[in-house]
Amino acid sequence: MNFEKEFELMKKNLMKYIYYHRFGRRLHINLFFSILNFFIILILAFFLAFYKYDEINHFFISFLSKYFDEYVIENLFINFGFYTINLHYLIILGRFPNNFEILVSLLFISILGLLLFIYRRKILAFFMWYVFFSIPFIVSVFYFTFFKNYFPYTVREFSILYTLLQYGITVFFVFIIAVSISVISFSFWTTFTNIIFTFLLIFYIFLFGYLRYFVFLLVLNKMSYLYMANLFFTFGPSLDFLYFTSFYTLYISLLMKNIMRNSMLWKFVS
């Protein structure tokens, strides 16, 4: 009898019931699929960043422009040396806040702050977010009360910043996904689902990004520049980060069910 084989067989059977202790278990990396997965997503990111982003951008901008009566579409060139991409952005009319609007907004944020402060003990984490949110707003209120004429932005500058931000977020999130998801690529099937997930994520980034751009433009057009700092600091990239981690962890939790069931994916200590 081959005791080694017998022992290995016994170990596999036992593994169905007795699992490696978590202190020393580690994953059995499949280098072939991980590298394949990484490069497929990376090529996708490269292709998207340099060859397709402008087309998608032009499509969305032209689509959004239909909802505004008066607008101008301008070009923003990003020169990478070997390639220049031409992005479009919208210019519409923005408005400056009047003193009444500033006062009402300040009152609203102060009353909300006071209420949250009273109950801060129970909702401390949320209260801290409120503080973080209110800082750009209060600076904005101060700025528009005393230095309104010096405000350095119009919708044009804001749109340039936003377009750049959105470009950065799209390309870099795909890169992060490539790094973070490729390592848990164990088979053809997981490689395939990883790539599908990446595609869906990119689709969402575009959809959300341009929907948000539309909302931001509406705020600057119908409400005022008073909210511009918050649009940038509170509802800007931090929101992207929130949905990005949500989708990523949801996907990982779905994958984990399979990882936990499959003992062949695990190793122990050495």
């Binding site: 202190f23 909702i123 750009p136 977020i169 981690t245 984990m256």
Partner: protein, 429 residues
């Protein structure tokens, strides 16, 4: 003048961007190493009948709610009782801690309470005094809210077979992780800190940290190194650096899991974070130069040591970065100096800079098999500002400590054990 301010802010943001990038790389290196790298073997399989005499120290300040659990778990430990003394250190308690401890002492000869009602209060002071009366070669330390597994002391002591090991650190696991959203988050945070960060640092022979509880150290080394500095709140971090700077090592034992009670209240957690940050930054100011000049550490250990020292200072500088970018926004100069740098800044602050710690938590959750708790990880986003703010306050406290040369006062973390739990413990006595 405005141009100089703009230039200064931009340089500041660029430096911060580089620092955040380095931390992000570190998170990824640790995560990948833990996921796929060979793990270091432990000493627990060594059979050694010649166990040393050990003293288990449990600092206590008004711990009547929780002390039964830890004492009962230690009474049930399989460590030979003739080689064990348990010293609950009653540090200025005003509740029934003293009476309960004396009651235990009357029943078990190896439980020897040490009551201290003079001198400054605080964990570091209590341990410094208690070590003087402890007879063990090895000092084991547990906080009062811990539950010690039966075979843990034996496993922990075996690490000291290696003469270079001056301290051992085990893994802390919250026992009340299902209580609320905060405890669930703390559970994942601890998981990432121990399962990935500490384990990778130990495996890569960097600077694993002695954490002040679920740990042990050699008594003679501890006394030779001058015991704990009473002015430093993070006595554990201080001991870690003292040990490494004197040519010894700290071993991390991922297998030595011990169960603690995590804060269930944000307000209590805020105080805890602020105290940790204050203590850790005190250590930063004290050991920054000695670490760089040390001839006992390899370059890679010095680099890791610097990362570790600055870990509670970075949130303060990130908060300043937020204000710097806010000022630049209102000065109309957000693009830093070029579109590339602007994109890179966005990348650092909002993508990998923030995502890397999340990836580390996901890695820990995979290794721990926490299928469903992974889904709450995005909610860490909401504790981000909370941690940023209170850690920054701790940094400011530490700076003021240095300027005013003030002596910090230890504030104990409030316990959440319910009365019914205490009664259940009483029945099990």
């Amino acid at each position: 003048m405005t141009e100089i301010l703009k230039l200064f802010l931009k340089i500041y943001l660029l430096i911060l961007m580089i620092i955040l990038t380095l931390y992000a790389i570190r998170h990824y290196v640790f995560s990948f190493n833990r996921l796929f790298g060979k793990q270091r073997m432990y000493y627990q399989d060594i059979i050694d009948s010649d166990l040393p005499f050990i003293s288990v120290l449990i600092p206590m300040h008004n711990e009547e709610k929780v002390l039964h659990t830890i004492l009962n778990s230690l009474i049930n430990t399989d460590y030979p009782k003739d080689k064990l003394e348990i010293i609950p250190v009653n540090d200025h308690s005003t509740d029934k801690t003293k009476e309960i401890l004396d009651n235990y002492a009357s029943k078990y000869s190896f439980i020897k309470p040490f009551h201290r009602y003079s001198g400054d209060r605080g964990k570091q002071n209590a341990l410094n005094d208690a070590v003087e009366v402890a007879k063990g070669e090895i000092i084991v330390v547990y906080d009062a809210d811990y539950i010690v597994p039966k075979g843990q002391l034996k496993d922990m002591i075996k690490f000291f077979i290696d003469p270079e090991v001056a301290a051992v650190m085990g893994r802390v696991v919250p026992v009340n992780f299902e209580s609320n959203f905060l405890t669930m988050m703390l559970d994942l945070e601890r998981s990432a800190g121990y399962q990935v960060d500490q384990q990778a640092r130990y495996k890569l022979d960097l600077i694993p940290q002695y954490g002040g509880t679920v740990g042990a150290f050699r008594k003679d080394v501890f006394i030779n190194l001058g015991k704990f500095d009473p002015k430093v709140l993070a006595e554990d971090t201080e001991l870690t650096f003292k040990i490494f700077l004197n040519g010894y090592k700290v071993a991390y034992a991922n297998r030595l899991e011990c169960y603690e009670e995590a804060p269930e209240d944000w307000y209590i957690r805020a105080k805890q974070v602020r105290r940790w940050s204050r203590g850790h930054n005190q250590v930063l100011f004290k050991y920054f130069i000695p670490l760089i000049l040390s001839d006992k550490l390899r370059l890679i250990q010095k680099i890791d040591g610097l990362f570790l020292l600055f870990v509670y200072a970075v949130p303060f500088f990130t908060l300043l970065g937020f204000f710097a970018s806010l000022i630049l926004f209102f000065l109309g100069d957000m693009t830093i100096s070029s579109y590339y740098l602007f994109l890179l800044a966005v990348f650092a602050y909002n993508s990998y800079g923030n995502f890397a710690p999340f990836f580390q938590i996901v890695t820990a959750a995979i290794l721990d098999g926490r299928v469903y708790s992974v889904r709450i990880i995005p909610l860490f986003f909401f504790s981000f500002v909370f941690n940023l703010f209170y850690t920054s306050l701790g940094f400011v406290d530490a700076v003021i400590d240095i300027i005013l040369k003030r002596k910090p006062v230890w504030h104990k973390t409030l316990r959440f054990r319910k009365d019914k739990d205490v009664k259940a413990d009483d029945n099990n006595k």
